[in-house]
Amino acid sequence: MLEAFILATILCGFFGIIFKKNLVMKIISMDVMSTGVIAYYVLIASRDGLHTPIFSNVKKGIYADPVPQAVILTAIVIGFSIQALMLVGVMKLARDNPTLESSEIEKNNMP
């Protein structure tokens, strides 16, 4: 069930990148897609259990797998920095193309 929702999120983001006309909306769609991917990692990590894997005397039961979570942290940071870079690029483009329609920008820059 959860898996289906996550895949739906990824697909929504993907189709957003294709069908949204505005560049900022495209970037947000890409963020939706990456949110879906991150959620998928968290889901797979929690297959075995939900507790945080911290060593202590209190017995808590089955732990979540820390590896996918540790790994996806890197991907979150990378995704964030790419978002930031893209938005800076869009800001620069917005000066000459106030509507930010990707098809218009493309038409001007396809020799």
């Binding site: 993907f14 990378i78 995704g79 990707s102 820059n109």
Partner: protein
């Protein structure tokens, strides 16, 4: 050896920051790092025994350095050195050198990693560094081209990430070794991510515009080595798993033909070279066993051609045909074009012959056609008019870079001198002769313009979903 490897992989990333602290040292540091890589690569190629480094408690995070890595690292070192030499006397800022060093370091990381997550991180760092280099002139066009590149590469890498976690789920490890034991959807997602990142076949159609609109040194870097970052893992998987081997070979043939067909009808010099890159990447994949050597041959030729194309008076080939160019530039063009067409005495000959001898029977005809196509494309550069000009002065940096690359073209012959048999030489010469004849009779006057609809931004992203379905279907059948 372990310590040396770790120092070598960390140093570029460290030095990149030093450049920012001490901007006066920029080009010296960049050159130093590249020479270090050059030494390391030669040492790897001579040692011949694979080296594996494993992180403690690793979950599959490993480094693996072997012959194949050696070729790619050598290519990386030579290309980046040439670009640094080319920029030596220009007024590039410390920022440019910093990005070049980061790019160099992360490319090295790709060529030695043996797990999906290290590969992901390295590829994303490459994406960011390449974005900054492309957008560096900060004109509207360069920003748009860079944005487009980052968009495509990041979307592809998101698919790849989903594939990577499915591999982890099946194996409890991120190591490449687990690729044999994965669900097919994981394999399809990973392959699509890498095919797009590497610029292979239809998913590589982002490549012509990106290469054509970037600054000359940046294009040399992109075509010489950055494109190979996506190719290297594909070659690795192909050598590990038979299923992948078949798919990679099919895509290799497809890309080799597609690129060459587009290139034959193109009239813009930089776009021709970019489309020919698309085709050459296919050649690397067509025979994965010898892909490393072909990558070296292509990595030496393409930057030479792009740097020379940057020095030509015009980008339109029709104008160049009426405007004689400097003889010394023309000689460089001819040497590089002959090498990429597979003329003996140059490394391109050995590479082409070794690929043609290692392809499977069903690939032979297609690859021969692609070889003839390459000869046709480069005949256009060889038969340009030229004369000796006194007034036109070409910079020292350009000649330093070209000398290094052409020296490499001839020197790298030693890696495969067995290619020099009578049969091979006749075959190579026949391919070139047919190509030149076809050029003179048919293609010299052709005015056909192929549509560029595949290169639209939306189609690039949408193409990814189609490729996903295609790869999925290929694996299941």
């Amino acid at each position: 050896m372990n310590t040396l490897t770790i120092a070598w992989i960390v140093l570029p990333l460290f030095t990149g920051f030093i450049v920012y602290l001490v901007p006066q040292l920029n080009r010296y540091l960049a050159l130093g790092i590249n020479l270090l890589s050059l030494g390391y690569a030669l040492q790897v190629l001579i040692a011949e025994s694979p080296l594996t480094l494993q992180l403690l408690d690793n979950f599959g995070v490993t480094l693996q350095i072997d012959q194949l890595s050696g070729y790619f690292i050598l290519t990386n070192a030579l290309v980046t050195t040439a670009v640094v030499l080319y920029c030596w006397h220009t007024d590039e800022t410390a920022f440019f050198y910093m990005q070049t060093i980061f790019l160099h370091g992360s490319l090295n990381a790709v060529f030695i990693c043996a797990d999906f997550i290290s590969l992901y991180v390295a590829l994303e760092v490459i994406g960011i560094a390449a974005f900054l280099l492309i957008a560096y002139p900060r004109t509207e066009r360069s920003i748009w081209v860079a944005l487009r590149y980052l968009f495509v590469s990041n979307t592809a890498m998101l698919f790849y990430l989903v594939g990577a976690v499915l591999v982890y789920q099946a194996n409890d490890s991120f190591a490449f070794a687990g690729i044999g034991n994965t669900p097919i959807e994981a394999l399809a997602l990973i392959l699509v991510g890498l095919l797009t990142k590497g610029g292979v076949f239809v998913s590589g159609m982002w490549l012509p515009l990106t290469y054509a609109e970037s600054a000359t040194p940046v294009t040399a870097l992109l075509s010489g080595i950055v494109g190979k970052a996506g190719i290297f893992p594909l070659v690795r998987y192909a050598l590990m798993l038979d299923e992948v081997d078949t798919i990679v070979r099919i895509f290799g043939v497809g890309a080799a033909l597609l690129g060459v067909i587009y290139a034959v009808f193109e009239t813009d010099t930089k776009r021709t070279l970019a489309l020919s890159s698309l085709s050459q990447l296919g050649w690397i994949l067509a025979a994965p066993e010898v892909g490393g050597f072909y990558a070296l041959a292509h990595g030496l030729v393409k930057p030479t051609l792009f740097l020379t194309a940057g020095a030509l008076p015009s980008r339109n080939i029709k104008e160049l045909q009426h405007q004689p160019l400097n003889t010394s530039l023309w000689i460089v063009l001819v040497v590089a074009s002959l090498s990429i067409s597979g003329f003996p005495l140059m490394v391109g000959f050995g590479a082409k012959i070794s690929t043609l001898n290692n392809v499977l029977p069903w690939q032979t005809i297609a690859m021969d056609v692609a070889a003839v196509g390459t000869a046709i494309v480069y005949a256009r550069f060889i038969f340009l008019p030229h004369h000796r000009q006194a007034g036109q002065e070409i910079k020292f940096g350009f000649w330093a870079a070209i000398t290094l690359l052409i020296g490499g073209l001839i020197g790298a012959n030693i890696f495969y001198f067995q290619a020099y048999t009578v049969a091979n030489t006749i075959k190579a010469l026949a391919i070139i002769a047919i190509g030149w004849l076809a050029y003179g009779l048919i293609f010299k006057r052709s005015v056909l313009k192929l549509p560029r609809v595949l290169e639209d931004f939306e189609h690039l992203i949408g193409g990814m979903s189609l490729m996903l379905i295609l790869v999925f279907w290929m694996i299941t059948t």
